[in-house]
């Protein structure tokens, strides 16, 4: 299921948690890991000057510099890059989201792993492009994206509980197929979860308790017909529907279930240009969840 992992890294602490998960996966699943680092954003029209994302300095790019950065990345991950691991390193110049997507298109990985936040994105170089790197990669990538924002309690392979959050969209169906496959492969518990959105901003009016209960019942029915029917072979699963603000509920639920992984569909069609920090439901989950989150688009 995971033969090739694209690990998009900043080669700084910000990516450390993601690195741990990515390398663990690569080792356990005997997958190839491609360490991909975007070293800088081109500035200044057609000049050769690039803004180094790490040092925030303007540097002139040539082959030597790229080689040097490659070595830096190698040194940073010296501990993880042991003999047994099948790894490659690639350094590129450009806007991070675009280059990650370009690399993904080139090597067609089964999974992209990213850190939670790639630093200060209020930089003027980023401001002109809408949405954060994460949002843009999650929106456009052809494969699942795993985001690791906090130290993951357990690691891939030692997984016992997956939470699959659904909003019943088409993309969620895709995410379900993926979650089911992963749960099967990893032999862990599958927890299907739906949150009934009762935040007034979404509905425009408050629901009575009866209505809420009616909707919850309906949601269970949908889960049964859509998902449970496809799970003949699986016995260790559960399903729940809670009401509340979706991203809060799913994070609470994941904690209760001791989830090692949350799988969700990335649904937001539009990029929130003005508020990349607040972002979509997805991003809220990422910031809050105590475990890695996989986002699936298609």
């Amino acid at each position: 299921m995971f033969k090739k992992i694209l690990f998009a890294t900043s080669a700084t602490e910000a990516s450390d948690h993601a690195a741990r998960v990515a390398f663990n996966m690569a080792t356990t699943l005997k997958a190839h890991i491609n360490l991909f680092h975007v070293l800088g954003v081109p500035t200044r029209g057609f000049s050769q000057v690039v803004l180094d994302v790490k040092t925030k300095e303007k540097v002139e790019i040539d082959d030597e510099y790229i080689k040097w950065v490659e070595d830096e990345v190698k040194t940073y991950y010296a501990n993880q890059l042991t003999d047994g691991i099948d790894a490659s390193i690639k350094v590129a110049v450009g806007f991070p989201h675009r280059e990650i997507l370009r690399q993904a298109r080139e090597i067609e990985p089964d999974l992209i792993v990213m850190g939670g936040s790639t630093g200060d994105e209020s930089d003027s170089v980023y401001k002109a492009t809408t949405g954060s790197t994460l949002q843009r990669v999650a929106k456009a990538a052809q494969c699942p994206i795993m985001v690791v924002n906090r130290p993951a309690a357990s690691f891939w392979g030692g997984m016992s509980s997956i939470v699959f959050g659904t909003d019943f969209s088409k993309a969620s169906d895709k995410a379900f197929d993926f979650a089911l496959k992963a749960a099967g492969e990893l032999g862990c518990e599958m927890n299907i979860f739906h949150a009934l959105d009762i935040s007034s901003s979404h509905m425009g009016f408050t629901l009575s308790q009866d209505e809420i209960e009616e909707r919850i019942r309906k949601a269970y029915r949908v889960i049964r017909s859509r998902y449970v029917s496809k799970m003949e072979k699986k016995s260790n699963f559960s399903m729940d529907v809670w009401e509340g603000i979706p991203y809060v509920e799913i994070v609470k639920y994941a904690r209760e279930k001791h989830a090692d992984l949350i799988i969700m569909a990335h649904n937001s069609r539009k990029l929130d240009g003005d508020a990349p920090k607040i972002g979509s439901n997805m991003e809220q989950v990422i910031v809050r969840a105590g475990c890695p989150v996989i986002s699936i688009n298609r």
């Binding site: 500035t43 029209g45 040539d62 675009r98 997507l101 456009a140 240009g273 298609r298």
Partner: protein, 462 residues
Amino acid sequence: MPEGIFCNKKPVETEEELTALLGDTSGTQYYKEMKELDVDSKLLWTTIQNTCKSRIRTWLEICAHCGMCADSCFLYLVNDRDPKQVPAYKIQSTLGEIVKRKGKVDNEFMRMAMETAWAKCTCCNRCGMYCPHGIDMGIMFGYLRGLLYQQGFVPWEMKIGAGMHRVYRAQMDVSEEEFVETFQWMVEEYEDDYVGLTVPVDVENADIMYTVNAREVKHYPEDLAEAAILFHAAGENWTIPSKGWELTSLAMFAGDWAACKMQVESVYEAMERLKPKRMIGTECGHAHRATVVEGPYWAGRKDGRPPVESIHYIEWLAEALREGKLKIDPSKRIKQPVTLQDSCNYVRNHGLRETAREIVSYIVEPGYFRDMSPRKEHNFCCGGGGGFNGIGLFRPQRNKGLITKRDQIIATGAELVLAPCHNCWDAIRDLEEEYEIGIKWSFLKPLVISMLELPDHMKPEE
């Protein structure tokens, strides 16, 4: 060492030479070699005799040294009215001297002339509007750049840029395959959200042939998708040429006229091959000027026009909005103070002063638009034109030059700057980075898409 390995009179012709030149980080060795480079006075003088005809000679002769052009030049104003920045002084002390001395000038003079031609003038042509005699120093600096280029006295990035056009027929190392591939990739990436999105390649007799700036392919390919979305939404019958798709010309900034000709002919060949009704170029100013305004002359076209009618992106956009081919959701119009950067290259130099304003009337909520002062054809250069943006050696001068635009923008009180020109867009981005005045800036495509009423057939189901 008269002719250097990197710095010499020979243009870059091959990929290997290009890579080697690029490998000379910041042009360190290049500029060192330049100090030794000989001036071929004979060649210089013959060239002048062959190409400097009555227009420029008269300009040089009748200049009254009255200084009325001083205030017109943003570089003069922003450099604390340094008399050495007066347009007439700048040209008289360079081109004027070369002509006077019949080409007998030395290396040091040529390096001074190079700095003047690329760091003290952006070829914005504003001064020409303020001289009573109609002396256009911008044009003369363009001419001077050609002489300097021929002698090898040209900034490193300019030599590379011109070389790119010679090798790739594009301003960056983007091949024909990469262009088409990237366009297709972008369309795939966006087709979920915009149903039916395609990119027709090399279709003959289409209504529109679309050409771009290689930077879009390389760094902001979203722009390609956005163009596709808008053409598709407007129901246009459009195509891209797999060859001859590059609208820009760094060769024009470099003064490499031979490369200018090669570049523009590649686009004209595409026009002749595909026979579109019209050619539309992306939101770029100098590119429009190179391919549509100056290009016909490089290619030797006596009527001064490209083989097929060629218009700027904003002309198409204004037309599509006017005719209702694209519909704007009025509730989504821009509701924040917004201003517009008029690009010298197609406003002053191609008369499109009302076009972007018409677009503004469709996409900005009434009451939110703030004009710059001066504006339209009298607007100042963004500060990064004519190649200024890209030259590392002259970065401090360029950053200083940005102050004019910064202050013009601040005076409007706008939070968003519409910049339908790659050079202006870059300059405004850089001025925000340099001076942090808290503005945003944008091309028109993404803004229009954000407020578009999509035709039903393009809406994703759900």
